[in-house]
Symmetry: C2
Subunit: 212 residues, 2 copies
DNA sequence: CTAATTAGGGAATGATCATTTCCAAATCAA
DNA sequence: TTGATTTGGAAATGATCATTCCCTAATTAG
């Protein structure tokens, strides 16, 4: 599934095309960054429209011009969160040379997001899985797609390592990819309780035994 | 921290001592089981008092006689959830002979909770970490204590394995215990998206490389 | 038996929530 | 310029939420 498929019709407006009428004054990306922060820290249900609008620097009326409803804000913020995160992750992976090192960089990426203050603020995808999986089938689909994308990426990296000789060819790449997926999402859960950087780094290092 | 320390004063009443006045008619444990199901499936904030009281088979007035407030219901349900889960986990571990097998049983315990319908319903501790970590310091403390207890238990099991020769003595028991903790809580997150039993079992098997 | 106490439950209560309405301001099409 | 269109924003709206009140019922203490 592509990330473009994330936005359902009329949930969020076009960011670029010039249309008639008064032009939008606020920066959509900045507003979504603010919204995403509120949703991530407080969770979907505890994030009130007043908190969202205040963080976004907009009146509620303006928000409802730009988004269909609270769910629409969430879905748009979720899409942006995935795009930004995926970009940062891919840049790190590209800089690593071997398959094994790419796997390590992916694990480290999530470990580094999961300690200290950043860790306390949580992950929008993990939060979405908790808050919406049984209540919103479409949102649940986006969450599952985000997990699947990570799982597939990790499986690809493992196979690269198996091809270049840095990961044993005998291990089950798909099963190990799911193990790594659970591990990295678990980092984000444990990170919400406030963990030291050294602890998370050590856990990431220990995890590399999975591909040894 | 002991599990007894979970209940703050006046949050939930004594279950046993006979007092004056009309005796309680409902079964506290059954009511808490119902409440923890609602909290686990819907999350703390999406669980309304009406849903809770309906599931518990009580009127709202009766619930507020037995608990201080919604938070009190949650804390009592959380305490019961931990007690029940810990008991089941310890029974499984006790049945295993070697340290390595005890570790495997602990991983399998969480893997089995994380597939199919049970997996979709989520984990109250993981949900608590997501819903309350930044909003309720006391609840956050209970969540952190639950994680710490699992982490310590896992570290103990690894050391048993290192002592009986089933786990390499060279590996870092504490770091690996945290890795396993993240992994098992990640199981519960991924389980919310609906995973097949075979997938989760394979991921649990693959995870045993961490102690190989 | 009577008074005190506690539980059960349904009907208020007041706060907060998501959403809508309405009007002024800014742009485009003609 | 004029009209249509869209945004910004403050105030209103109606629903839902957690919580309290109040009355009845069941028990214990004396």
């Amino acid at each position: 599934m592509t990330i473009d498929a994330l936005t359902s019709a009329a949930v969020a407006p076009d960011t670029k095309t010039r249309s008639r009428g008064r032009p939008r004054e606020f920066d959509m990306d900045a507003a979504l960054d603010a919204a995403l922060r509120v949703f991530s820290e407080r969770g979907y249900h505890a994030a009130s429209i007043s908190e969202l609008t205040e963080a976004m620097g907009l009146a509620s009326g303006s928000v409802y011009k730009a988004f269909k409803d609270k769910r629409g804000i969430f879905l748009a913020a979720f899409k942006r969160y995935r795009q930004l995160g995926r970009g940062r992750l891919e840049a790190r992976i590209a800089a690593a040379k071997t398959g094994r090192e790419k796997v390590f960089q992916m694990v480290m990426y999530y470990a580094e997001l999961s300690h200290g203050e950043a860790g306390l603020k949580g992950c929008l995808v993990v939060g979405g899985a908790n808050d919406l999986s049984l209540l919103d089938a479409e949102a649940a689909g986006h969450v599952a797609a985000a997990f699947s994308a990570d799982e597939k990426l990790m499986a690809d990296l493992i196979r690269i390592g198996q091809a270049d000789g840095t990961i044993p060819p005998t291990l089950d790449a798909d099963a190990t990819a799911l193990t790594f997926l659970c591990l990295t999402k678990g980092f984000r859960v444990i990170g919400r309780t406030g963990r030291a950087e050294e602890e998370m780094m050590a856990a990431a290092e220990a995890a590399m035994r999975l591909v040894t």
